[in-house]
Symmetry: C2
Subunit: 290 residues, 2 copies
């Protein structure tokens, strides 16, 4: 068991707190029983190393997960509680963390199908917002996030924590704007931008069969070029004095509207194929059956 | 101009970073041009003191606002850029902050009317979530937030920043659960709780004419007693692997569903009174007219 905070491997793990190190090595440090088990259980979580502080780790579920991971050949590093705390980003550390390989999906390999929803984010700055959008993407059945331009790092601790594990269940893509746009045209997607001053409300808007929801940064919103590239601009009604919503909230409202439309239309499709006559009732059935 | 970081008044202002000081004195420290101007412009913002670093403050709009405030008798304290930075909670301080009197609405004074929406939060822990919910409450036309049990402080810097000024436009109420429940019964509100395992989806649920949306804490959700007190429990569909959404996101989805129902029904009401026959088209009209 490692008991020195200056041990080479411990320093190596600690260096992953810096984005530059994470980027160049393609690794990330994840912490907490739930997150680490989520990474292990997911196809997306390539766990390179489990870090265990036996003095802190009491959860049976965690110990079971670690035993299974060791059987699969995942390396385990035992460190003292004291050393663990020097790595930890949180109060009350649970004694389990991991080094994971960052998983990126290449834009070129991506083929959209009808019913797919993606989010494209321009220069999102707040890691909490990015993590929250990953979490909602998972909840609303969206496939993943395409990060355009200089985005904050989804593999930063605060983004991963806010994602509550969705970083391992959703696709992450990086792309430059021109490459992204060319790809989107090829895939015949409906590119929908969110803009405060759009005339079409987000509810009832046409999102098409394959949708990419494009959101600007917290400060700047969408650029003129981006707005013009969109097939549709939608607005969220603002009934008070603030002029916009939190980015994660705005994304979530639109993603759940898209989900609602997709599920209503799929119920409607199956009703058609069953030759049901009272199709006017179908949207209500869709909501009750959830 | 004050140039000493240990000046008594400066220390006094700095002490407002501690909740205990804020609570006992009923004051808060707010920062940034937008927030301070928002406080000045709002009926809710009782500004006790403006703090100005002339070397940092270049905005014409801010200088104009300060001049107006001084005319109205609001005290102004000039401090050096160096001293200002020791008070500031952010990078790139803009040179304008203020001490405001906390504004609380008493539950006893509160009379709900048809069409009113409120949020009641149980032991919300994250100031960013609380601020985000204030911001969305403003956007979705909800009146304010009732804080139940030990909630995080809405007058903390991070909560106020996340609210983007909505802390000055929405009502804030503090109450114990039994007092709150007795009051809610008197007001004949529909108490709607959000719960992952509820059978009724949040879309299309019945929210009544006067609604209080009850949300549990980030970790615990609603207690059994709270669930049983609700007239209606609603769930947000989860289609992926995470088991819940961020608290601010969950609140926002339900608040915007309530807004949508209210606006659809008010258009429907006016259509009725105009004796319009094609009332089946009305919900669509409601959405297009936003």
């Amino acid at each position: 068991m490692i008991t020195s905070t200056t041990n080479t491997r411990v320093r190596d793990i600690r260096s992953l707190q810096r984005r530059k190190e994470r980027d160049s090595r393609g690794l990330a440090y994840v912490e907490g029983i739930r997150t680490v088990l989520g990474a292990l259980e997911s196809d997306w979580g390539d766990v390179a190393l489990l870090i265990v502080a036996p003095d802190l780790l009491k959860s049976d579920r965690a110990l079971k997960g670690i035993a299974e991971a060791e059987k699969r050949g995942i390396e385990r590093l035992d460190i003292s509680a004291e050393v663990f705390k020097t790595l930890s980003n949180r109060d009350g550390p649970q004694g389990l963390s991991a080094v994971v390989r960052q998983r990126w999906t290449s834009l070129r390999s991506l083929e959209l199908e009808d019913g797919d929803t993606w989010i494209a984010l321009t220069a999102v700055a707040d890691p909490g917002n990015l993590g929250t959008i990953l979490r909602t993407a998972d909840g609303a059945g969206a496939s993943g996030i395409i990060l355009l331009e200089n985005s904050t790092d989804p593999w930063a601790h605060s983004a991963m924590r806010a994602s509550t594990g969705a970083i391992f269940s959703r696709h992450l893509v990086r792309a430059e704007w021109p490459t992204f746009l060319a790809w989107a045209r090829e895939q015949t997607v409906t590119l929908v931008g969110a803009a405060d001053d759009a005339e079409t409300p987000y509810r009832g808007a046409n999102y098409g069969a394959r949708t990419i929801l494009l959101l600007g940064s917290e400060r700047e919103g969408l650029s003129t070029e981006q707005r013009e590239a969109c097939d549709q601009l939608v607005a969220i009604p603002m009934r008070g004095q603030v002029d916009s919503l939190n980015l994660g909230v705005a994304a979530s409202l639109v993603l759940y509207e898209i989900l609602d439309q997709r599920e209503a239309s799929s119920v409607s499709d199956s009703a058609d194929s069953l030759d049901v006559l009272a199709v006017t009732d179908v949207p209500e059935v869709a909501e009750v059956s959830e």
